[in-house]
């Protein structure tokens, strides 16, 4: 009988877990839909701004602009985009592992880290990496202002000459089932020298000044894109992880129910046997 009770309790607790994972899955699905919409809304701006900038850049003296300045790489900044919460499969682990691999190549002392999201912050802080800035607990009210803030502090870190290159590690949203881990170079800005589309037009103020104010905006938008991609990926990863968890819980419950019924039948059989043999013993006496 004790066995039966234990199994019953386990079934109950797993059912509770299943309820939680199911709810988390639903929440993630709702958030995913919203973040996907946002991504779609941001795309036209990003594309057009890039278009404008790429048509201008080849025309501008490279060394005039600090953000285009390609230097010998002595120190690198990594922008590590993770989530604040776990339960999203390998979402954060992938980013962290990849970042560590990259850092190992360069040497820990040559790397500054910008942590976006609590998971990455906790990990790198514990291992005493150089963290320049951390931003946590903002994902729920993510807005373009965040991108501007990150963008500006990253830009000044680069233009002050502290680092010679800025790279971003984040999850790129491929589709709901797949997120691709990407490492991209944010600074210095690179472009294809071949693709010069010279257009005859009026520039107001000068081309150089235009580029100078375009580039920070372009970087803000890139930053915004990274945040949106990562947020959508996080939700997708969580949704899939929680879907699997719900399914696994279902399987466990099925197995336990089978066990429970077997145990129940066994105990009934045992009781019947005891009664029958008891009755027989009495009859024989």
């Amino acid at each position: 009988m004790a066995n039966l009770k234990i199994i019953r309790e386990r079934i109950k607790s797993i059912q509770n877990i299943q309820k939680v994972t199911k709810a988390m899955k639903m929440v993630a699905a709702a958030k995913l839909r919203r973040s996907q919409e946002r991504m779609e809304q941001a795309r036209p701006y990003e594309e057009r701004l890039s278009g404008v900038i790429l048509s201008l850049l080849p025309d501008v003296e490279r060394n005039l602009l600090p953000l285009l300045d390609v230097r010998e790489v002595n120190r690198v900044a990594y922008v590590v985009v993770t989530s604040d919460r776990g339960f999203a499969g390998a979402f954060n682990a992938n980013v962290i592992r990849r970042t560590e691999e990259e850092i190992r190549v360069l040497g820990k002392e040559k790397v500054d880290i910008f942590c976006i999201g609590r998971k990455g912050r906790d990990y790198f802080k514990k291992r005493s990496y150089t963290i320049i800035e951390e931003q946590i607990e903002f994902w729920n009210d993510l807005s373009f202002e965040h991108a501007i803030k990150f963008g500006n502090s990253i830009i000044s870190h680069f233009t002050n000459g502290v680092v010679d290159e800025v790279r971003v590690v984040y999850n790129w949203f491929k589709n709901v089932a797949n997120q691709e881990l990407r490492v991209e170079r944010l600074l210095p800005l690179v472009y294809d020298e071949e693709k010069v589309a010279l257009v005859d037009r009026l520039y107001e103020p000068s081309k150089e000044q235009l580029v100078r104010s375009l580039i920070p905006r372009h970087l803000n938008v890139e930053m915004w894109k990274y945040l949106l991609e990562s947020f959508a990926s996080e939700q997708a990863a969580r949704m899939v992880a929680m879907d699997n968890a719900t399914e696994n819980a279902g399987e466990l419950i099925r197995d336990l129910k089978l066990k429970f019924n077997k145990a129940r039948q066994a105990s009934i059989t045992k009781e019947v046997l005891e009664i029958v043999s008891g009755a027989e013993a009495l009859a024989n006496a």
Partner: protein, 131 residues
């Protein structure tokens, strides 16, 4: 009157304003207007007011700045923020205007440039909202 297509693109939304006859933008060196037949160009925009004339009616927007790309068949505004005059919350703008003025008056603010920026921003929004 001949018209030109106007598109306003921001990081959070795209406004397709359709065919308009006139757009007035806050350039860095002052206001400038665009009508059909304008020369192709790329212009930096300051924060300020954008006026759009469509079917003989005027519409006003507040922006925090960006770029205008003018080609023969369309005007494209790439802006970081855009607010229609009807969308602006007057109370909030007034509150931030007062706050900025107080700070400027007390002069203990370290970041004067920031306060001034917030002052102009609030002024622009109020001006647009009251159109």
């Amino acid at each position: 009157m001949s018209s030109i297509r106007l598109e306003i693109v921001t990081p959070t939304k795209v406004l397709d304003e359709g065919e308009v006859t006139y757009v007035r933008c806050p350039g860095l060196d002052g206001l400038f207007g665009v009508m059909t037949g304008h020369i192709d160009g790329l212009f930096a925009l300051d924060l300020g007011e954008i006026k759009v004339t469509k079917e003989k009616k005027d519409y006003y927007f507040a922006t925090s700045g960006g770029f205008a790309e003018v080609t023969s068949d369309r005007i494209q505004l790439l802006l970081e923020t855009i607010e229609r005059s009807s969308e602006i919350e007057v109370k909030r703008a007034e509150a931030s205007l007062n706050r900025a003025q107080e700070r400027l008056a007390s002069m203990d603010e370290i970041d004067i440039a920031r306060v001034k920026a917030s002052l102009t921003r609030a002024t622009v929004r109020l001006k647009v909202a009251n159109r």
